[in-house]
C-alpha cells in the first residue's frame, strides 16, 4: 500500500525524460526565434533619416513659420509664442506624406483628406491622433532635431514646445 502512494507522488523516469526533452525542445525553439528576430531586426543607417539633424539657428525661423525638412521628413514649426515643434510628416492615419498648405494655414493629407492644425492637432478625421513629434533641443542658438524616435501623442500639449531661452 505505501508503495503505491510513493509511486503516485514521484515522476517516473519515463515522464521525467519526456518533460526534459519537451523543455529542451521549447528552449531550442525560443532560441531559434531569438536568433531570427535579431537577425532580421531593422538596421539603422547613420546620417540618414533616423539620425540627428541640425536644423539651423533659432533666428532663421520667423515666428509663425513652418519649414519643411525633406531629408529629415519633418516640419520645424515655430508657434506664434516663439516655441519650436518638430512634426513628423507621416500621416497618423495610414502614413502618407502630409504637405503643408500655406494658403489654408494647415496640413492636409492627400490620401484620405485628414487635416491638422499648425501644431499637429486633428481638425478633420480619419486621422485618429495628432501628428507625431520629434525631440527638439536648442544648444547655443542652434535648433537640433532627433529623428530617431517619433513620439506619438493622444493630445497636443503646450509642454511639447521648446523655447530658445530654456523656458517661455
Amino acid at each position: 500500500m505505501t508503495d503505491r502512494v510513493h509511486v503516485e507522488n514521484t515522476v517516473s523516469r519515463r515522464d521525467f525524460l519526456k518533460i526534459a526533452w519537451g523543455a529542451a525542445g521549447a528552449l531550442a525553439l525560443v532560441e531559434a526565434a531569438g536568433v531570427g528576430l535579431s537577425f532580421f531586426a531593422p538596421r539603422i543607417v547613420e546620417g540618414e533619416f533616423g539620425g540627428g539633424f541640425e536644423a539651423g539657428l533659432v533666428d532663421s525661423f520667423p515666428v509663425g513659420s513652418v519649414t519643411p525638412f525633406t531629408q529629415g521628413r519633418f516640419y520645424l514649426v515655430r508657434m506664434s509664442d516663439g516655441g519650436f515643434l518638430a512634426l513628423y510628416r507621416k500621416c497618423t492615419h495610414l502614413g502618407c506624406a502630409v504637405p503643408w498648405n500655406p494658403a489654408e494655414g494647415r496640413f492636409v493629407c492627400p490620401c484620405h483628406a485628414s487635416a491638422f492644425e499648425r501644431d499637429g492637432t486633428v481638425i478633420n478625421p480619419p486621422a485618429p491622433r495628432p501628428l507625431d513629434r520629434f525631440v527638439v533641443t536648442i544648444e547655443d542658438g542652434m535648433v537640433k532635431v532627433d529623428t530617431g524616435k517619433a513620439i506619438s501623442r493622444d493630445k497636443t500639449s503646450a509642454d511639447d514646445l521648446v523655447y530658445a531661452g530654456g523656458v517661455a
Binding site: 531593422p42 538596421r43 495610414l94 502618407c96 502630409v98
Partner: protein, 466 residues
C-alpha cells in the same frame, strides 16, 4: 535471346525508356491506367479512380485546378523576371523600364506575371465560394478548408509583397498605406510594422525584405501547403454533386460510379489548362501591366489607394476607427470563416448547390440586401452621420468603433433571426444567407473603393475618378 535471370529487353533504346518510365505506355487496360497514375510523380497527386459525377465541369468550375495552373505560370514567369531585376531603389524602376523597352518579350513576360497574380486572387476567392455553396467543407474535409484559407492568405501576401517591387508611385504608396493597417494592432502593431518594413518607412530595407518574402519564403510555403491541400483532396475524395431531390447529379440513382483518372480526369484537366493558358497569354499580349512614375517618398499621390483587393478594407477604414476597420472586423470575418466547417451542417445538403430550394431563395435575399444596404449605409455615414461629433466626450475608439460595430452586429442578428423565422429555415440555410450577405457586402465595399472614390477619397461617379 533473353537471359531468364535478367528479364530486361536487350534493345538499348527500350531499356533507356523503361528506366525512365516504369509502366507500359500507352497502357493497355484499366489496371495499366491506374498503375500509371500511381507510379508517376506528378500524376500520383491524383487517386487512380475518381467518381464520375464529380467530373462535371459546372460542379467545380475547374477553379482549384485553375489556381494551380496560375501558380505554375507565376513560378515560371517569376523566375524569368528574377534574371533581369535587382531589388534596390536605385535599379528597380530602371529595370521595369528596360523590361518595357529593351528586353525582348520583357513587357509580355511581366504582363503574364502581373495578370496571373491578380487573377489568382479572384480565382482562389471564387474557388472558396464554390466550396462553400456546394458544402464541400463538410466532414472529413474541415481541415482542408482551413488549409484553403491559409492558401488564400498566402496568395494575398504574395500579391502584396510583389506589389512593391516595381518601385513606382503606385507601389510605394499602396505598400505604405497597406502596411500602416498593421500598426493599429494593439501594443505590438508599430513594432510589427517596423520589423516588416525594416524601419519606420518604406525604404531600401523594405524592398530587400519584400523581395526575399516574395521570391522565396511565400512561394515555398505556398507550394508546400498546395501539395498538402491537393493530397487531402485525393485522400478525402472530392464531394459528389447532388440534385435538389437528393439524387446524384450526372448519374442515375444513388450508386456512385467510378472511372479511371487516366484519361477521364487528366484529359479534362489538360484541355482546360490549355484553353486557360491560351486566354491568359492572349490577354497579356493586348493589356499591359500598369507602371507609373518612379517612387517619390516626398509626395503622396491623390488619391493614394491600396491594392484593389484591399479596397474593401480601406473603405471600412473610412467609416471605422482604424483598430476596428483594419483589425477587429477582418479578424472577426476570418474567425467566422475558419469556424464554419465545424458547425452543424444538414447532411442532405452536401454537394447540392446552395443547400436547397429554400436556401437558394434565401441566398438571393442576402445578395440583394447587401447590394442595397451597403451603399445606403455608406451614404448615410458619408453625409449624415457624424458619430465622433455626436459623442464628443467619448474616445473615437468607442464612438467610431464599438458603437457602429455593435449596431452592425445587432442588424446581422436581427437579419438572421428574421430570415430564419420568415422562411422557417434550418440554421444551415440561414447561415448561408448571412454568408451571402457578408460576401456581397465585402464585394460592394471593394467596388465602391475602386470605382467611386476619387480625389481626397470623396465619393463621386466612376467617370469622374481618374
Amino acid at each position: 535471346m533473353t537471359d531468364p535471370l535478367d528479364p530486361r529487353p536487350e534493345d538499348l533504346k527500350q531499356r533507356v525508356w523503361e528506366s525512365i518510365q516504369r509502366d507500359e505506355l500507352p497502357p493497355r487496360d484499366d489496371r495499366g491506367r491506374m498503375r500509371v497514375v500511381m507510379n508517376n510523380l506528378v500524376l500520383h497527386l491524383h487517386p487512380s479512380k475518381v467518381a464520375k459525377a464529380s467530373l462535371k465541369f459546372t460542379y467545380t468550375w475547374g477553379l482549384g485546378g485553375l489556381a494551380l495552373l496560375l501558380v505554375m505560370l507565376l513560378s515560371l514567369t517569376g523566375v524569368m523576371l528574377m534574371f533581369v531585376y535587382t531589388p534596390s531603389p536605385d535599379t528597380a524602376y530602371q529595370d521595369m523600364l528596360s523590361l518595357q523597352t529593351e528586353i525582348r518579350f520583357g513587357q509580355f513576360i511581366r504582363n503574364v506575371h502581373h495578370w496571373s497574380g491578380n487573377l489568382l486572387v479572384i480565382v482562389a476567392f471564387l474557388h472558396m465560394l464554390r466550396v462553400f455553396f456546394t458544402g464541400g467543407f463538410r466532414t472529413p474535409r474541415e481541415f482542408n478548408w482551413i488549409l484553403g484559407l491559409s492558401l488564400l492568405l498566402l496568395v494575398i501576401a504574395a500579391n502584396f509583397t510583389g506589389y512593391l517591387l516595381p518601385w513606382d508611385q503606385l507601389a510605394y504608396w499602396a505598400v505604405t498605406v497597406g502596411s500602416s493597417l498593421l500598426s493599429f494592432v494593439p501594443l505590438i502593431g508599430e513594432g510589427l510594422r517596423n520589423f516588416l518594413l525594416g524601419g519606420p518607412e518604406v525604404s531600401a530595407a523594405t524592398l530587400t525584405n519584400f523581395y526575399g518574402l516574395h521570391v522565396a519564403i511565400i512561394p515555398l510555403t505556398l507550394m508546400g501547403v498546395i501539395s498538402f491541400h491537393i493530397w487531402r483532396v485525393r485522400k478525402d475524395g472530392l464531394s459528389i454533386p447532388h440534385r435538389l431531390d437528393g439524387s446524384i447529379d450526372g448519374a442515375t440513382g444513388h450508386q456512385i460510379e467510378k472511372v479511371t483518372t487516366l484519361p477521364h480526369l487528366v484529359s479534362r484537366e489538360l484541355a482546360f489548362a490549355l484553353v486557360m493558358t491560351g486566354a491568359i497569354l492572349l490577354w497579356s499580349v493586348w493589356v499591359d501591366a500598369p507602371l507609373e512614375t518612379a517612387a517619390n517618398p516626398d509626395h503622396s499621390p491623390n488619391p493614394a489607394k491600396a491594392a484593389w483587393y484591399f479596397m474593401g478594407l480601406q473603405e471600412l477604414l473610412l467609416h471605422f476607427h482604424p483598430v476596428f476597420g483594419a483589425i477587429v472586423i477582418p479578424l472577426l470575418g476570418l474567425g467566422m470563416l475558419a469556424f464554419l466547417p465545424y458547425q452543424r451542417f444538414d447532411l442532405s445538403a452536401e454537394g447540392v448547390w446552395f443547400r436547397s430550394q429554400k436556401g437558394r431563395w434565401m441566398a438571393y435575399v442576402g445578395a440583394i440586401t447587401g447590394i442595397v444596404g451597403v451603399p445606403l449605409l455608406v451614404l448615410l455615414d458619408e453625409y449624415y452621420l457624424d458619430l465622433p461629433g455626436t459623442f464628443p466626450n467619448l474616445p473615437t475608439a468607442i464612438s467610431n468603433g464599438w458603437i457602429p460595430l455593435a449596431a452592425l452586429l445587432l442588424m446581422l442578428i436581427t437579419y438572421y433571426d428574421g430570415m430564419k423565422r420568415f422562411f422557417k429555415a434550418s440554421a444551415c440555410e440561414t447561415r448561408q444567407s448571412v454568408f451571402v450577405l457578408l460576401v456581397m457586402s465585402f464585394i460592394v465595399l471593394t467596388v465602391i473603393g475602386v470605382a467611386f472614390r476619387g480625389e481626397g477619397m470623396t465619393l463621386m461617379a466612376p467617370w469622374e475618378v481618374q
